[in-house]
């Protein structure tokens, strides 16, 4: 079945992301060359702002003219010590084929229509007309994405999304009417400060503050209408810490069934502190989370079974224990 035109094994490297063209050094030099005249201190400042911690150690001597000619020859120093680029124009930022192919692939993503209106969509389609997509849509299969994701292509959803996004960018107060999880209709004035998308849930949520409710999180799909609002009352500043757990969950996870490895990967998105317990096969973990995620977190931890033990806080351990006891009783009553 293998073609007779078999090539010897070669690395697949016709397109690459790890390239100096996208690198920090090229970007910094491009920025510096955009200046007609620049002082040493301005160079240091731009490197400190856009480079890595140690970039100044390596980059400066290559940029500044050196007596031995070891610099890149891209700047000349005038009589008063100011640097001038040897180039004439501001360096252009040309999109590479890789970048254009990536943009082309996004045309097949239903979430794109949240951001582009018909005119913008048409313009992008024209630009990528001759560009093949970087990847077909079905290359990635998300095995456990929730099946009730947001209706990204529905007109009302798009309209509300754009109104919320606009208010977020303009820092404008808006009136939102939405249906709560319990089915209650709520209308209020909110100042959005963050839009969050969950990869697993395939849903957007907007984080807002309001004079009456403080910090509130609303699912975009639950919003019915959004309209501009006039300020009434003092809107408190965003306080994400009010949504945070009071204390971290403490747990141990053992090597059995490679649970330690699986746990650390699964909970990688969380802020946590891990430590190998000396003389045992266990890792101890402190894990910080948002209060609204507590139940979700609890059931996911229970999913690890006996290779993970929730140590605290007490009320969470108690909740776990209650579920386990309930399950044990079901199991043993069934056996009798």
């Amino acid at each position: 079945m293998i073609s007779t035109e078999c090539m010897p094994f070669t690395e697949v490297r016709t397109i690459k992301i790890f390239s100096e063209l996208y690198g920090a050094y090229f970007r910094i030099v491009s920025k510096l060359l955009s200046e007609h005249a620049i002082t040493d201190s301005e160079v240091y400042s731009i490197i400190a702002e856009d480079g890595f911690r140690d970039t100044g150690l390596f980059l400066t001597k290559k940029l500044m003219p050196q007596n031995d000619g070891s610099d890149w020859g891209l700047f000349k120093r005038d009589k008063v010590g100011v640097l001038h680029p040897v180039t004439v124009s501001e360096p252009p930022h040309i999109l590479t084929t890789l970048q254009k192919r990536w943009l082309r692939s996004k045309l097949d993503d239903p979430r794109l229509c949240l951001f582009l209106d018909d005119r913008e969509l048409k313009s992008l389609c024209e630009k990528v007309a001759d560009v093949p997509p970087l990847y077909p849509h079905d290359v990635f299969r998300y095995v456990d994405k929730y099946s009730d994701g947001d209706p990204f292509t529905k007109t009302d959803y798009r309209k509300n999304f754009r109104a919320v996004l606009s208010a977020l960018k303009q820092k404008q107060l808006i009136e939102i009417s939405y249906v709560s999880r319990t089915g209650k209709s709520i209308v209020g004035k909110f100042l959005p400060y963050k839009l969050e998308y969950s990869h697993r849930d395939d849903k957007f949520r907007v984080f807002c503050t309001s004079a009456l409710k403080g910090s509130v999180v609303i699912n975009l799909a639950r919003i019915e209408t959004v309209s501009p609002a006039k300020s009434s009352g003092v809107i408190p500043p965003p306080d994400e810490n009010s949504l945070r757990c009071d204390e971290p969950i403490e747990l141990t996870v053992s090597k059995e069934r490679r649970a330690d490895e699986r746990f650390l990967m699964e909970f990688a998105p969380y802020e946590k502190r891990t430590e190998r317990i000396e003389g045992s096969d266990k890792v101890s973990v402190k894990l910080w989370y948002d209060k609204s995620d507590e139940t979700d977190l609890l059931v996911r931890l229970l999913g690890f079974g006996p290779v993970l033990e929730i140590k605290g806080p007490q009320e969470i351990r108690q909740k776990a224990a209650e579920r386990v006891r309930k399950q044990w009783k079901i199991l043993h009553s069934d056996r009798k």
Binding site: C6, T10, G23, R27, R53, Y142, D144, P269
Partner: protein
């Protein structure tokens, strides 16, 4: 640290260390025993330089733990992208890059000879013709430069697709901001933002496995091979050292948004079977020729994958359809039914009694569903089918958990 550079030529080593710092935050210097201490020190220093504010140090009796610690739902740019912006280059690379752009920005076409002369006039540096030819070939492949033949001569001009022209509306800029934080090569979106001197400060991501970006180069190679129906030669990771190399036909990237694990689903022609391999530990694959009967194999794969709960495609021995019955009070626990509906994947959910719902999963490997099933601990009335091993392990697990949490009298509960 003589000879230390914060730029690197090869991404593979950095990828391994960053993954360990991020995922296995409990490791100390002595635990990195694959390479020398000097290598560890260099890699740690680079990580500090690239990701400074996200590194965390804990001094323990075993030594100093270095880890990357962050809540990925509170960052607007994946910090691991920084690692991709560290490719080393030669003095000629950077010099030629900016001199060439400055000449070609006028939109005119030039031959190699003309460009050599103009570069010398501009900077006093005369590049070798062959060096310039190779650079222009590379830039033509990257799409920065367009080459055209007029008569016998090859001319080069600058591609006119600038970041500013393409990102010419709020909508497209916001779209790139958003997609720069998504799994499907968000890194490339980030390079576009950087080209246009933009940042994402609008969109935040939950359930976001930032570490996946470290596999982007490998996946890009795989995607290209898939597109060309090419076989790949891949190195298989194995704890017992029996990994070896396999020639495979790549089918799909299988990604779990709940466990963070990503696998490459493949067909192995020599064994006439499908399986999947972890991507996080996979080195850069090599191509191994074109596979002619791709469509037949793909059709078989599509059929098989409908019976996968996650990534396991190996048929478990004597496995029957798995049936799990849950206790649900319909009047007050509608959210449990919602949860079962949205998370059941290929399962079929039916009401089977008063306050009872049964999910039937006909899977290649029923054991793969059990971790998810255990998230319903407290309401699992019975488990039928699957395998005997699976049912016994579930019962044993509940007994062990009952013992851990102290039964009715948990000593750890005050």
């Amino acid at each position: 640290m003589a000879g230390f550079s914060e730029l690197i030529k090869n991404f593979e080593k950095a990828r391994d260390y960053l993954r360990d710092f991020y995922i296995c935050g409990y490791k100390v210097r002595g635990d990195f025993n694959k390479k020398s201490s000097r290598t560890y020190d260099d890699e740690k220093r680079r990580a500090e330089s690239w990701l400074g504010e996200y590194l965390r140090y804990d001094d323990l009796s075993r030594g100093r733990q270095v880890s990357i610690s962050l809540d990925s739902s509170r960052i607007s740019e994946n910090p691991l992208y920084q690692a991709f912006y560290t490719r080393s280059f030669t003095d000629n690379d950077i010099r030629l890059h900016f001199l060439l752009l400055d000449i070609l920005i006028d939109g005119e076409s030039y031959t190699i000879n003309e460009l050599c002369t103009m570069i010398e006039e501009m900077s006093g540096y005369l590049p070798e013709e062959q060096t310039l030819r190779l650079k222009l070939k590379e830039y033509t492949e990257e799409g920065i430069v367009i080459s055209e033949k007029h008569g016998k001569k090859l001319y080069y001009r600058l591609c006119s697709d600038t970041a500013a022209d393409w990102l010419d509306s709020d909508g497209i800029r916001d779209a790139v901001r958003f997609f720069s934080q998504t799994q499907e090569f968000g890194l490339i979106g980030n390079t576009i933002l950087k080209s246009a001197e933009l940042k994402n400060e609008l969109f935040y991501m939950k359930h976001y496995y930032i570490v996946h970006t470290l596999e982007d180069e490998v996946i890009l190679s795989i995607v290209e091979a898939m597109d060309n129906h090419q076989l790949l030669e891949i190195e298989i990771f194995s704890r017992n050292g029996n990994g070896g190399v396999k020639t495979v036909l790549p089918m799909q990237i299988l990604s779990s948004l709940q466990t963070g694990r990503r696998f490459l689903a493949v067909y192995i022609p020599s064994e006439d079977r499908f399986t999947s391999f972890r991507l996080d530990l996979m080195p850069m694959p090599k191509t191994a020729g074109r596979f002619d009967k791709y469509d037949d194999i793909r059709a078989r794969y599509e059929k098989l994958v409908t019976r996968c709960f996650g990534v396991s495609m190996d048929n478990a021995k004597a496995a029957e359809p798995l049936r799990i019955t849950f206790a649900v009070d319909e009047s007050t626990e509608y959210f449990i039914i919602d949860r079962l509906e949205r998370e059941k994947r290929c399962g079929v959910l039916k009401k089977t009694g008063d306050g009872e719902f049964t999910l039937t999963l006909n899977l290649c490997d029923p054991n793969e569903a059990m971790k998810w099933v255990k998230t319903f601990i407290g309401r699992i009335i019975k488990i039928e089918g699957g395998t005997e091993f699976l049912r016994k392990r579930f019962a044993d697990d509940i007994d062990r958990m009952y013992a851990i949490y102290g039964g009715e009298d948990d000593q750890d509960l005050q």
